[in-house]
């Protein structure tokens, strides 16, 4: 499918606008990345007065990154990747199924149940953390991957997401499949999900980012060193009384660049699925 637009002014404006936006998005992280290469005494030396030194370090050091590699940071990245991966896989299955039910079926108390789903994601986490901690401890899950993964698998946000997006898939399609004798399970797995790849991608990235950002809950529920999550590892470079901005910035830079990988890998599934799958 070719966009039939002339590659003229419209295209120029599109790229001009995009470049401007890209600058705004990248500059802060760029500043962090550059600062992570500076020796500690130089980080804030040139920032308050504009000169070319504000952007170009006098001296480049790599020691912050070497220290990062030698610390528990790589372990924290792996932990988080594992936790996020399992959460995403289980979460997408469970939540898309629930979203499918909301979108396709009628059942008693449907609207009331949907309000309950909304309630689950608007209660401040800080208000439920104590009972949640007591419960997770009661299950003997504190200090295990279970504590990090299980509470996040069923997500009201993602159920809501799928409810919104599944409804758009034409009901005629489902009914046609039913006439053909397909079970609802089949329709969900072979029709609804494949028609919703972009939604699956968006939901997966949302869950991934949620776990990648996890901070307060891991501090409370997963205390052992082996279970350190990445945001906790980063925050530990914020030293009260004696700052070490270089190490902190290096950790932030690496974490940011790693977290973009799932997006880069998944963004090619942002495609027009309606045509793609041959239904019309």
């Amino acid at each position: 499918m070719q966009a039939r637009r002339k590659p003229g002014t419209a295209s120029f404006f599109r790229y001009a606008l995009l470049s401007l936006l890209a600058m705004v998005m990248i500059a802060p992280i760029g500043w962090i990345a550059i600062s992570s290469l500076r020796p500690p005494e130089e980080i804030f030396l040139h920032s308050p007065q504009l000169s070319w030194r504000t952007f170009v370090p006098e001296k480049i050091i790599w020691s912050n990154y070497e220290m990062l590699l030698a610390s528990d940071f790589p372990q924290a990245v792996l932990n988080t990747a594992f936790v996020a991966f399992v959460t995403v896989v289980l979460g997408i299955l469970i939540c898309s199924a629930a979203g499918f039910a909301f979108a396709v079926f009628d059942f008693p108390f449907k609207n009331a149940l949907f309000v309950v789903v909304i309630i689950t994601f608007i209660m401040p986490f800080e208000s439920i953390v104590v009972p949640l901690y007591i419960m997770v401890r009661g299950l003997n899950w504190n200090d295990t991957y279970f504590a990090l993964i299980m509470p996040e698998v069923a997500s009201g946000f993602i159920i809501f997401l799928f409810r919104q997006f599944f409804v758009k898939v034409s009901r005629e399609l489902f009914e046609a499949a039913r006439v053909d004798g397909a079970s609802w399970w089949r329709i969900y797995w072979d029709v609804a999900l494949p028609l919703s790849w972009p939604t699956v991608v968006a939901g997966a990235l949302m869950m991934f980012i949620h776990q990648w950002d996890a901070f307060f809950w891991p501090l409370v529920a997963a205390t052992s060193q082996d279970l350190t999550m990445v945001q906790v590892a980063i925050a530990r470079y914020q030293q009260f009384e004696q700052a070490d901005f270089g190490r902190l910035f290096a950790a932030m830079t690496v974490a940011s660049l790693l977290a973009i990988l799932p997006f880069m890998a998944l963004q090619r599934y942002y495609i027009r699925t309606i045509i793609d799958s041959g239904f019309k």
Binding site: V129, D143, I149, P194, L219, S224, Q239, F240
Partner: protein, 423 residues
């Protein structure tokens, strides 16, 4: 379509794989005693050597320690202690919160275990670890404040330097005079910085030096104290540094950023902790000296103190092991090693001589004098947390121009409302 179907099939395998890994990832229960420890978020290289040493001496006890960054330490402790579980067995207790934790039953009474040790500790540190005559925590570090001076900025402005001797201690009025001559706010050059510019830890000594009493004796009333005349006068002086005289940058609350302003040579003076010595000794781009903490003319010199302590959860299922840990960390040689990892002023009297080769030079001489003569711990009241937080917000607003008396009166009202629960 083909690719997508393949991906979905692959997805099925992923689910199985993930589920399998998940099952295997359950940590098996380990034998022997395990102590669950919440530790202040000092860098790993400052913490691990001590923990390793303990495990070496006590092979039957495993330590599961978690370093938590300062910003989240208190709140995550609230969650875990609030749940009233046996864990954590041991935690880093902020010295100002001994009374708060003790009053709420979160600290084990150590008095019977510390009998012979009490004389070994620095007075102010021991006082901070006590509540209603009982010792509830093991002092592990203390702190004091010095005034750091950028000699280059003084010379460039032709201002006479303060002396480094105790007897040369400047008054706040002298500090302001010098600061006014040096500060050039338009050029981002400042006269005087307060390292923790919004925290009662650093600011209460100003009021106390002026002769103010900061809370009632029973620790339940702040009205009439923090909005009393002397407190208001001292706070007015503090507020004017930012708004009227413009010798200090308003709104700079992050202590790490305050340090950056000083260490990049943009301020003539900074009142701050001894931890700044490390960075200055490692190489400053300007000539510097450290001098005693200022006081108000006609008042008495007062300095802040207190830092970190070790507390035991009274609900711990392993009190024996926890006490072993406590005794280990209160040993002279362990605290000497701790000093070498992170040089907080010692809390054990003996360590001033044990560490005499390290604690040399005028700055440490001043620090020792302050700790023994002018240090006043934060008020040992159970509601200090509430008191501190509310007063902090008031100091922030005053820095940014809020009317002093009015703002402090409001803070007093809010504090008293929170303190009521300790009646």
């Amino acid at each position: 379509m083909g690719k997508l179907t393949a991906l979905r099939r692959f997805g099925g395998w992923l689910v199985l794989g993930a589920a399998a890994t998940f099952m295997l990832s359950v940590v098996p229960a380990s034998a022997g005693t395990k102590l669950d420890i919440v530790w202040m978020g000092w860098a790993e290289e400052m913490v691990k050597p001590l923990m390793d040493w303990f495990e070496q001496e006590n092979p039957d006890i495993k330590l599961n320690y978690q370093r938590i960054p300062y910003n989240e330490l208190l709140s995550s402790l609230e969650v875990r202690l609030g749940a009233r579980t046996p864990e954590p067995d041991i935690y880093s207790a902020d010295a100002s919160l001994t009374a708060s934790y003790a009053a709420r039953g979160h600290l084990m009474d150590l008095t019977p275990h510390f009998k012979d040790d009490l004389a070994r500790f620095d007075e102010a540190a021991l006082q901070a670890a006590s509540y209603r005559g009982k010792v509830f925590a093991g002092p592990f570090a203390t702190s004091t404040q010095l005034m750091y001076v950028n000699v280059d900025l003084f010379k460039a402005a032709g201002v006479e330097l303060p002396g480094t001797g105790i007897e040369d201690r400047w008054t706040w009025e002298q500090v302001l005079g010098a600061a006014k001559k040096i500060a050039k706010p338009q050029e981002n050059i400042w006269g005087i910085l307060l390292e923790q510019s919004d925290r009662p830890y650093q600011l209460l000594p100003l009021m106390q030096s002026r002769g103010a009493k900061v809370v009632s004796d029973d620790g339940l009333v702040s009205t009439g104290y923090i909005d009393g005349d002397k407190f208001v006068e001292a706070t007015q002086f503090y507020g004017d540094l930012f708004g009227v005289h413009k010798v200090s940058p308003p709104g700079l609350f992050d202590l790490n950023l305050v340090q950056e302003v000083f260490h990049t040579g943009r301020a003539a003076m900074m009142v701050g902790g001894t931890w700044n010595l490390d960075r200055l000794n490692a190489g400053a781009s300007f000539k510097w000296i450290a001098v005693p903490h200022p006081y108000f003319e006609g008042g008495t010199p007062v300095t802040s103190t207190g830092s970190w302590q070790i507390g035991i959860n009274p609900r711990s299922k392993n009190p024996e092991a926890a006490l072993k840990f406590m005794r280990f960390f209160m040993r002279d040689d362990v605290q000497v090693k701790w000093f070498n990892l992170r040089p907080y002023p010692p809390v054990l009297k003996a360590n001033w001589s044990n560490l005499s080769d390290r604690l040399t030079g005028q700055p440490w001489k001043i620090a020792k004098y302050e700790l023994q003569n002018t240090a006043v711990p934060r008020p040992p009241i159970p509601g200090f947390r509430e008191y501190e937080e509310i007063l902090k917000l008031a100091f922030r607003d005053i820095q940014q121009g809020a009317p002093v008396k009015e703002r402090l009166t409001r803070a007093a009202r809010e504090i008293d409302r929170e303190l009521a629960k300790y009646k």
